[in-house]
Amino acid sequence: MPDNRMTAGAPARAARAPRRAPSELTFNPDRDLIESYAAAEPDWLAADRRAALARFDELPTESNQLYTPYIDLRAADLGNVRAYPEPAGAPDPARPESASPRGAAAFADFDEDRVAGLVVDDAARAAGVTVDTLDGLIGRDPETARRLLTDGETLPADDRIAQLTRAGWNQGVVIRVPDRVRLDRPIVVRWSAGAAGTALLTRTIVELGDGASASVVEELGRSAAAAGAAAGSGQALFTSTLEIRVGRGAELAVASIQDFGPDHIVFQHRRATVGEEGKLHWALAQLGGRLVRSRVDNRLEGDRSSVEQVEIVFGANEQLHDLTSYTRHVGRDTTGNLLSKGVLLDAARTYLKGMIVIEKSAVGTDSFLGEFGMNLSRKARSVAIPSLEIDQPDCRRAAHSSSVGPIDEAQLFYLETRGIPPDDARKFIVLGFLEPVVARVPLEGERDRLRELLEAKWDAGIARAAAA
């Protein structure tokens, strides 16, 4: 399935970039820098970085042959991007720490290579909840750090870019909630990044003990340095992980709002293992970035475990959001409910790749995957590849469904009969289409912020269309 379309409809055709294979990763890990990290770290960690680098060298950028026709990294030009050599491992005592968002139980705030804040409120601290930088945890509790980093299960072994992060990470945060602690207020992790020419390679680890419950909000946005820079001053790279363990009977909700700048190249890996009767909820919103390649791996290991994943993409201009989601049913009577929705303006592209695997042991699985797109521009392109691989037919349900269509004329007509002007009606329908993620964000302030971001993006798109 050849793909010879490139940046269709580019407003002004810049000087042609050198011809590259779509799978070519232009970022070269700085091997000396990684060795310098390794030299200062415990042996097990140095070995882990070197093993990851060896994997990185062996692997193709996309190891799943199903998806090789739909990989396109040509928008990334990372040859001059350099990893921050030595990001801080703790807040700078000389500067005031940033304040926790209202209603949060804990807050980790990263601004480029600084730790701008790291707070756990008294109630959470008393319950045993800990939030450490990865550096901090290695210093404070090396045995736990070792267990969390080196069990080999938390990042996909076949993924080249995940192995890049494992080899070269220069920042990280670890959230741990002990057994039976039920935290009713969310933990907020904020990453502000995007200064031209920089790379931040990060890992986020979340561990919920048996019977615990918690929610995490991940905010990904542009730093002051990135926001202040002139457009086109250079790309930046952000790689991140979310390495999640949900214990027996535990319940975790993760909401992520990604609104990086237009020159940001973003690679995300999220991998969760869910124990017996554990529950995991994802609400993921992708708005920003020039090129975003994200992968989620859900592993339903325990009997009766479940995952609910709702993901939205709102693309505009020439953004490419390349999102893959793997859900592997291993235990008995597990439930997977996955929904991806995309709205595309301008020459935006989304690739939605979903894979459900039902292993032979997974008797009684209920698994559904839905991928729905709205192309609102003739130059937009939406690709959906919802796949199933099934070794156990004794399922409650194994299905996927997908649709692409314009704004529903009947809905539009209905709203207009109620006196709503057509432009507003369109906006309501589109924002309503994306609402399932907004509604799942646990913090009111974050919910409002996401709604505002979506609305602003819509308004900007309309303004561009009017100007054109």
Partner: protein, 467 residues
């Protein structure tokens, strides 16, 4: 009671034999540039065809073996005989066919079938059409139905105009192989406005250990014409792997209607790697009705390129994967023009450790406005040692496409089996009935005789698994 029914009911063992045919001509095992030249020379082909073959051969060598489906690396191209000609010329009359070959076809029931309802018969014995007849009335209305080699001789202009335009040699490794060494297959031309009243039907058959089968079919249906072409296969069983790499090209000119029905039942040692594609022009309708029950491995995705406004594509793909089989099948609908419609329905059954894979593509290209498309794939798994995969690719590059896709995988419902058993059916009969019902979307599109055959074939497969 017809002989055609018996082919697929309970006589397959009889076909697991090897006829000691004296081949009049054959190439040496293995594929070289000389083999390609030799084949073209045997056939006294025009130079352009030789050049096409040689270009295809070069491409075949350069093209890497596909790795997105497994097991193809087992094919040993050096062990295959690329061309065999069992009799000297194409026969017009049944009486002229050599006795030994005739005996084989008698077993396959061809004369019987012909007398019953066939408009024409093209039977393929190894690599050449040896028996061929076109009914008088078809000739009268100008319909051409003959072997591809003969077509190249008698209708060089039509063949040259369309050959390789729907499936270029460079399309994939196996279309390159076919283009280099093709032999046999059918050539059909239906003139403007002609509706062919009865289905055109061809039987194909592989014989000879390690004989490759590279038939090439070209169907050109002129404006406003209408035709139904039926292809069915049986093959004798051998221990070593056989390769079947066919190419089928269909050109549906404006306003025409083409239906192409296949029941593929190769023996379980055959690699069946087929490229089937149609171009549908303005207001044309193309339908692929495709069933795969045989072969060790089938890789086949009947495709329709909707090139003219208001063209319609309808694909029904059915696969049954039993022990040791992998049916890697599906469909592709590529929308290139406005107001085009497509529907894909896929049904697969996997059992006894078989693997059924649906792989499909639905693409709406820029400029193809107001497209309506639907894809539905359902899979039935009869046990937990089998496997079922679904890999649909949906690529939409317009803003007013209406596309829906649904897929489900399940097992035979215990409730349904229980209900049927309470009505006096055995468990086998109940399961068989449910599977037949599951596949009915396919069966009901077949001519009645074929529908009966197909249901018997499924029943046979089911008995093999349950008995």
């Amino acid at each position: 009671m017809t002989a055609t029914r018996e082919i697929v009911t309970d006589r397959r063992e009889e076909f697991a034999f090897h006829d000691d045919i004296v081949y009049l001509r054959e190439t040496k095992r293995g594929l070289t540039r000389e083999t390609v030249e030799e084949i073209s020379g045997f056939k006294e082909e025009p130079d352009w065809m030789l050049q096409l073959r040689l270009r295809a051969y070069d491409h075949f060598l350069q093209r890497p073996m596909p790795t997105w489906t497994d097991g193809l690396d087992r094919i040993d191209f050096d062990k295959i005989v690329y061309y065999r000609k069992p009799s000297e010329r194409e026969e017009k009359s049944w009486d002229d066919v050599p006795d030994q070959i005739k005996a084989t076809f008698e077993r396959l029931g061809i004369p019987e079938a012909e007398r019953k309802f066939l408009a024409g018969v093209g039977a393929q014995y190894d690599s050449e059409v040896v028996y061929h007849s076109v009914r008088e009335e078809l000739s009268k209305i100008g319909v051409v139905f003959m072997g591809m080699d003969q077509g190249l001789k008698e209708y060089p202009d039509i063949v040259r105009k369309y050959f390789g335009t729907v499936v270029p040699a460079e399309d994939n490794k196996f279309s390159a192989l076919n283009s280099a060494v093709w032999s046999g297959g059918s050539f059909v031309y239906v003139p403007k406005g002609v509706e062919v009243p009865l289905p055109l039907q061809a039987y194909f058959r592989i014989n000879g250990e390690n004989t490759g089968q590279f038939e090439r079919t070209l169907i050109v249906v002129d404006e406003g014409a209408k035709v139904h072409y039926i292809e069915g296969c049986t093959a004798p069983i051998y221990a070593t792997d056989s390769l079947h790499a066919a190419v089928v090209e269909v050109v549906a000119l404006p306003g025409s209607k083409v239906r192409y029905t296949t029941i593929q039942n190769w023996s379980n040692d055959v690699y069946n790697l087929v490229t089937k594609r149609a171009h549908a022009y303005e207001n044309a309708t193309v339908e692929w009705i495709d069933a795969n029950t045989g072969s060790r491995k089938t890789v086949k995705f009947p495709s329709i390129y909707l090139r003219g406004p208001n063209a319609t594509a309808d694909i029904i793909s059915v696969a049954v994967a039993g022990k040791g089989q992998h049916q890697d099948t599906g469909a592709k609908a590529i929308h290139l023009a406005p107001n085009t419609r497509s529907r894909i329905v896929s049904k697969s059954v996997s059992k006894d450790g078989g693997r059924a894979t649906y792989r499909g593509q639905l693409k709406v290209s820029p400029g193809a406005t107001n497209v309506v498309a639907s894809v539905r794939c359902d899979a039935l798994m009869l046990d937990d040692i089998s496997r079922s995969d679904t890999y649909p690719y949906i690529d939409i590059q317009e803003d007013d496409t209406t596309m829906t896709h649904e897929a489900t995988v399940g097992k035979v419902s215990a409730d349904q089996v229980f209900y049927l058993m309470s009505r006096g059916l055995t468990e086998n009969e109940a399961t068989n009935l449910i599977v037949q019902g599951f596949l009915e979307v396919f069966t009901k599109e077949l001519p009645m005789e074929y529908a009966i055959e197909f249901n018997r074939l499924v029943k046979l497969e089911m008995e093999g698994s349950l008995g």
